[in-house]
Amino acid sequence: MVKKIAEGSHAVAEVVRLLNPDVLAMYPITPSTHIPERLSDFESDGELDGTIIRVDSEFSAMSALVGASATGVRTYTATSSQGLALMHEVLFVASAMRLPIVITVVNRALSAPLNIFNDWQDSISERDSGWIQMYGEDSQEVADLMVQAYRIAEDKRVLLPVMVCMDGFFLSHTYDVIDVPEDLKGFVPPYKPEHAYLDPKRPQTQGAWAMQEPYFELRKELEEAVGAALPVIKEVHDEFAKVFGRSYGGGAIDVYGEGDTVVVSMGSVCTNLKVLADRLGFQVVRVRCYRPFPAEDVKKALEGKKAVAVFEKDVAYGTGHGALYNDVRACTTGKAVNFIVGLGGLDVPINALEKMCGEIDAMNDGETRWQR
């Protein structure tokens, strides 16, 4: 382990280099761009084994990775916002074809109006794509999630694509002390697919079309596969903790503090919420693995609590709430309230969070407040 002061994006790039993907696709979009830039530096200095394809669009980025992964190699790309939205069509293909592609989503607001700053609407909007979604609280965790993501994705019990989400600018463009492993070959062995590869010596047809019955069955199998990934996610988290000495709760959720009131959120805003939890005496449940949604863990954490407040940077339009709230709502019959915060990168200072936490008791069950 080497402790370094590194920008969040550069820490991700460093770990990706060590994970040694064979094919990397790159297309610039703020705020994810520092990752491909740093990987390009590695390539120019002869420190990257993989082949970089500098594609014509994010659509082609995901398409090239599907082609490469279907051929049987490890793949990587990073993107944000409109870039992820442009990949949308191919994301559903990647998961259903059970290709263990790993991407970093540097979270950014979606147009319109155009806005380059952080919220979660981009990845939240892909929550039903059949991908595993993990959210990191700080750059160290994002770097560690990248390592865990390949282990999870390529595990024979999983074989699904994973998006590792990090808050744009707040994490991608800030510096932190980060432990970067020196070698990851032991923890993440080379990818050797048995289920999907294109080889003239053993011809496979991949990407066939299906009539109603097989289609229905395959889609059901995909849902079962995403759900079945949860124990593997926890197992990989625990093994990572043993090897590298860093643990993040139980892997699916990270429970912090004690109290009758529970605040649920994801990503970097949780650091301030944890500070307030100590000060005000509530509990924080940070959702680390958003898909598959760890409903049983959340239910257990919320059992017997007075109230739950969900803080999130996204909107499930037409429901009156954020997407995370709707998931958490289904886990409790008790009082649940929702705060929509930080859309389009609107600052969420700790004093604003403190004020919101002070409002929870007076709010009605099901109420949503928008922090401005």
């Binding site: 064979d22 090239a64 082609g67 191919v90 066939a208």
Partner: protein, 295 residues
């Protein structure tokens, strides 16, 4: 129809020119190949899960990304230490319209790929809608010939001209009516490193409304009229593969329902354009202009 590459039992229509073209290309390439197919008739008729007509490795992802998915395949293939021929193949819709960005991207990046456009001049899989490959005056379900509008109003787009503008080492046109020429071009392209594009004319009896026994007739006739020039551009140098006899266009238009409404003044307009186009083509061949260098 059965072969080493595509087995019998697929559900392509009787007289389908596209599957003839796909089979000719793949048989010429041999078995050390990976095929990346765009959505379309060739995908639907060959791979109804859990069955497949393909005896070679084959991938379908979406409509508009056969070229970019193939770029991932070829780079992965090289990382695995192999030198497999990777071919991206799609129709005029998949390659010239919705997939043109992906196609342009792989040509500009210089991947070692075979790019094949099987052109039947409309979106046939969805029911004969207009594409940028549909010729002027052809009736489709979205450019019907009515009392005011005589079918499609615009000229056909030249994908081979777009391809050579990328400075790639090999671009060729072909027709399934001239199989020896087509196969020779495929084999030549296979021996060239980098992106190479083949634009193949593949008649469609259902979409064009002609008797299914006439596919080869139309595939030959269009070349004879000069409407579909056969040429190759190797390292920027244009060579005409076959001179047309300039057979009357009526011999080509007659018998196709899509041209049922065509009037003599339309035929005259097309004919003049064909002649002017050939003049330019021959000028370019004679001058020996390096089309790769042309800025």
């Amino acid at each position: 129809m059965s072969s080493e590459v595509i087995s019998s039992g697929h559900s392509a229509c009787a007289g389908c020119g596209e599957i003839i073209g796909e089979r000719m290309v793949l048989e010429a390439l041999g078995k050390d190949v990976i095929v990346c197919q765009a959505t379309g008739c060739m995908e639907i008729t060959t791979t109804p899960y859990p069955r497949t007509a393909f005896k070679v490795p084959w991938l379908h992802v979406t409509f508009e990304n056969a070229a970019s998915a193939a770029s991932g395949i070829v780079e992965a293939d090289r990382k695995l230490g192999r030198n497999t021929t990777v071919v991206a193949i799609g129709g005029d819709g998949g390659m010239m319209d919705i997939g043109v960005r992906a196609l342009s991207g792989v040509m500009e990046r210089g991947h070692d790929l075979m790019l094949v456009v099987t052109d039947n001049e409309a979106y046939m899989n969805t029911g004969i809608q207009r594409s940028s490959g549909t010729p002027k005056y052809a009736a489709t379900t979205t450019t019907p010939a009515g009392s005011v509008v005589p079918g499609k109003r615009e000229w056909k787009k030249s994908i081979s001209r777009i391809a050579i503008a990328h400075g790639i080492p090999y671009v060729a046109t072909a027709s399934i009516g001239f199989p020896e020429d087509l196969v020779a071009k495929v084999k030549k392209a296979q021996g060239i490193k980098g992106p190479k594009l083949l634009h193949i004319y593949t008649p469609c009896p259902v979409g064009w409304g002609y008797d299914s026994s006439k596919t080869v007739y139309y595939a030959k006739k269009i070349v004879e009229t000069g409407l579909w020039p056969l040429y190759e551009i190797e390292n920027g140098k244009l060579t005409i593969s076959q001179r047309p006899t300039f057979a009357p266009l009526e011999e080509y238009f007659t018998g196709q329902k899509r041209y049922k409404h065509i009037k003599p003044e339309h035929i005259k307009e097309v004919s003049e354009r064909v002649k002017a186009g050939w003049k330019e083509l021959e000028k370019q061949e004679k001058a020996g202009v390096d089309l790769m260098l042309l800025p």
